[in-house]
Structure formats: structure tokens, C-alpha cells
């Protein structure tokens, strides 16, 4: 275990770091998981907004066709 740099600790959990910088592997994975979930929610909302918009456009087009006046 001589590779361990004694003074460096994870900024999030305080664990002794072996060869990582700033954050330990565990905290990095947790952050990525959280980031992934947040990204998923945001992209999901974006896709939902796009779908709603295209649906609204569709309806508008249809109502234009049904009223020839």
C-alpha cells in the first residue's frame, strides 16, 4: 500500500485517496449516477416538450384542412 498518498482525501466523503484526484472512485460513480439520472429527466422533459409541440402542430394543420372558409 505504499502507493497511497497519505495527505490526500476525498473532498466528498473524506476517504484516503489511493491514486485518484479530488474525489474517490465511489463518490465519482455516485455523482455520475446522479448526473445520469438528472440528464435522463432533462432529456425526457425535452423529448416530451418536442412531442407536445409536434402534436399541437398536427392538430392545427388538421383544423386548417377541416375549415375551408
Amino acid at each position: 500500500m505504499n502507493a497511497i498518498e497519505k495527505e490526500r482525501r476525498c473532498k466528498s466523503c473524506g476517504k484516503l485517496l489511493i491514486d485518484e484526484n479530488t474525489f474517490c472512485r465511489r463518490c465519482k460513480l455516485k455523482m455520475r449516477n446522479t448526473g445520469g439520472k438528472a440528464g435522463g429527466i432533462i432529456s425526457g422533459l425535452f423529448v416530451a416538450a418536442l412531442s407536445a409541440n409536434s402534436l399541437a402542430n398536427d392538430r392545427e394543420g388538421k383544423s386548417d384542412v377541416s375549415s375551408p372558409d
Partner: protein
């Protein structure tokens, strides 16, 4: 003035009545049973006290430091001899108090007015009385002393691993646990049969029990290495935390089971008078821990314990457990091995059971 005690014979088979709780006698999950260490320590201590001649009422004034060290660590080897503490009757609070300097070793007055060795607090108030005893024939008691120190060390290791194990919220696979407990259950059956058998048949039952325990240990050592290898395969930024936690909880379970198997095996070998074997079993355990601590695995970058540490979700007080604690475990096992080499030294026993005048 030093006094001597009388030797009282105890029934040998009583030493095999180690399965006390219903879960211990009938259960199939080793981790749900008692840890057995207190039973082993109590039985070895009782046999040692009753079958050994002790010199009591010794002057403790020159031994305060060694006594405190022995109570904190279970035993202490120094120039004057070897001191072993009756660990089962010193609470964790006393051990922690001595470590933190809140308590110290000194003397306190009994109700009768005599001064007696005691653990005292900062205000010189009595916490616990104890008696210091010196073995009249150290060679006779050496194997029991060594068994006692081994059980004390294994008990501490087991408790520490159990404690850090609570930090991981992995999936519990009961079928896996039962499979790894099986050999212990078979050994238990043989030990229960041995406790009521005649001398010759008893030895056969105990030999069979030892074989099961040996097989169980081999399974556990193989399993822990397999789990660590799987952990090494969890690479990259998108590794699953759930999968990592499951592997960590399996490793924890194995690490909790191993001291129980080793403890029972060592206890039975001591019962059968095979002291050289006990040291070998402890040596194997030490080798496995050393391999986990020192051999690089996977792509050769990290040891098993470093990998566990990198992935471990420590909770508050346990930070860096897998980096720091195994070194202490190895030192404790090493000291146990050293105990058997002390045959020409005086042996002192710190007995905390008799507390007639205690006022805590």
C-alpha cells in the same frame, strides 16, 4: 502475602456445550447465530482457573502499565512475562476508557478496608476490581493462555468486521449464506454428538467436525478471492453501484464467517490438545489476510483491500477501515503466534470475575 488456590476437576465434555441459543443449535444461517467467542473465552477461562494453581494477592505497583496494556489489547508480552486479561469480564467501556485515558489502573479500598487492584476513573472512583494471579507452573497453562489470546483476537476482528459491514446496503442472498454455513452446521452436528459420546467415539466425532470446518474455510477463502476478482472487473465510469455493493456485502459476509470458523476450529484443536495445529490454522488465516493486503490483483494496480477501500461506502467512524484495520488484525494474529513461544516466561492472569465488593 501471596496465597495459593486449590485445583478442582471440571467435566471435559462440558467444554463441548457451546451451542447455547436455539438458533445456535438448530439454525442454518451462521451469521444469525451467536459469535461463540464469549462462550469459548468463558469456557477456556473457567477451565484455566479451576485446573491451574495460581498465586494470588500479588503486589501490582510495578506492573500498572503492563496491566493496562493487557486489558486494552487482551494480552501483553514484556520482559517480566506474559499478562493475559479476562477479556469477557472487562466491558468495551472499560477498554475504551483505558485507551482514551479516562480510566487508569490503581488500587482501591474494599468494604473491608483492604486495598485491592482496580480500574479507577479520573476522580479515583472505583470502576471495577480485579485480581492479578501468577501461574505456579507456567508450562501447564500455556496452551490455555494461548487459546484464550487467540479467541480474544478473533472476537475483536469479528466485531470490527461486523461493525463496518453495516455500512454496505447490498442485496442479501440467503441461499448463498446458507451454502457457506453448511460445513459449520455439519461440524455442529458432530460436536453435539461428541458432547455425549465416550472418549474414543468423541475423538472420531471431533476429527470429523474438524474436517468439515477445514472444508468450510477452504470454500470461504476461495469465495472471497472470487468476489474480489469480480470487484476488480467492475471498471469504468459507468460501473453499477448496485453490483459493487452486492459484491462488497458478499465479501463482508465471508470476512465475518471466517473468524467464526477459525475460532471454532482453534477451540476444538485446543480441546483435543493439538496445540501445534492451532498455530498452523491461525497461520493460514494470517496468510489469507496478508494476501488480500499485499498481492496486486486484476490489472496489477491494486491489492484486494485497496480495491475494497476504493469502492467502500464508509459511514462516519469507519473511514479507511480496509486500509488501516487489517494491519492491526495481522499484528494481533502475529502476537497470538508469539504467545506459544513464551514457555520460559512467567504467566499472569488478570481476573475480573470476582466482584463481591464492587460498587459500580
Amino acid at each position: 502475602m501471596a496465597e495459593k488456590n486449590e485445583i478442582v476437576e471440571t467435566g471435559k465434555c462440558e467444554l463441548l456445550d457451546i451451542f447455547i441459543e436455539e438458533e445456535d443449535r438448530k439454525g442454518a444461517d451462521l451469521l444469525k447465530m451467536s459469535d461463540f467467542f464469549n462462550v469459548f473465552i468463558g469456557k477456556i477461562g473457567a477451565e484455566m482457573k479451576s485446573e491451574t494453581e495460581w498465586e494470588v494477592d500479588l503486589d501490582i505497583r510495578g506492573l500498572l502499565g503492563q496491566i493496562a496494556a493487557a486489558i486494552k489489547g487482551g494480552f501483553d508480552i514484556s520482559k517480566m512475562g506474559m499478562l493475559v486479561a479476562d477479556y469477557s469480564h472487562f466491558s468495551q467501556e472499560i477498554i475504551d476508557g483505558l485507551k482514551e485515558g479516562i480510566y487508569h489502573v490503581g488500587e482501591s479500598k474494599e468494604v473491608t478496608g483492604n486495598l485491592r487492584p482496580a480500574i479507577l476513573d479520573e476522580n479515583e472512583q472505583l470502576v471495577k476490581f480485579f485480581t492479578l494471579k501468577k501461574a505456579i507452573n507456567p508450562v501447564e497453562v500455556l496452551s490455555d493462555i494461548s487459546a484464550l489470546s487467540m479467541q480474544n483476537s478473533l472476537k475483536r476482528i469479528s466485531a470490527q468486521i461486523e461493525d463496518v459491514g453495516r455500512d454496505v446496503k447490498g442485496m442479501i442472498d440467503f441461499a448463498r449464506r446458507v451454502t457457506l454455513s453448511n460445513k459449520f452446521i455439519y461440524a455442529r452436528d458432530k460436536i453435539m454428538s461428541a458432547s455425549t459420546a465416550g472418549a474414543e467415539e468423541r475423538e472420531d466425532f471431533l476429527k470429523a467436525a474438524d474436517t468439515y470446518l477445514m472444508e468450510g474455510l477452504v470454500d470461504l477463502y476461495s469465495d472471497i478471492n472470487a468476489q474480489v476478482k469480480k470487484l476488480a472487473e467492475q471498471k469504468g465510469p459507468f460501473a453499477s453501484i448496485k453490483a459493487i455493493d452486492t459484491l462488497l456485502s458478499y465479501i463482508n459476509e465471508d470476512m465475518q464467517m471466517i473468524p467464526r470458523y477459525v475460532g471454532l476450529r482453534v477451540y476444538l484443536l485446543n480441546f483435543r490438545g493439538k496445540n501445534d495445529e492451532t498455530n498452523r490454522i491461525l497461520g493460514e488465516y494470517k496468510y489469507q489476510l496478508k494476501t488480500l493486503a499485499e498481492s496486486k490483483i486484476g490489472d496489477g494496480k491494486y491489492t484486494a483491500l485497496e480495491l475494497i477501500h476504493k469502492n467502500y461506502p464508509y459511514d462516519g467512524g469507519n473511514v479507511d477501515f480496509w486500509i488501516n484495520q487489517p494491519k492491526e488484525m495481522l499484528a494481533a494474529i502475529g502476537s497470538c503466534e508469539a504467545v506459544l513461544g513464551q514457555s520460559d516466561r512467567d504467566i499472569f492472569y488478570i481476573d475480573a470475575e470476582d466482584n463481591v465488593d464492587e460498587c459500580d
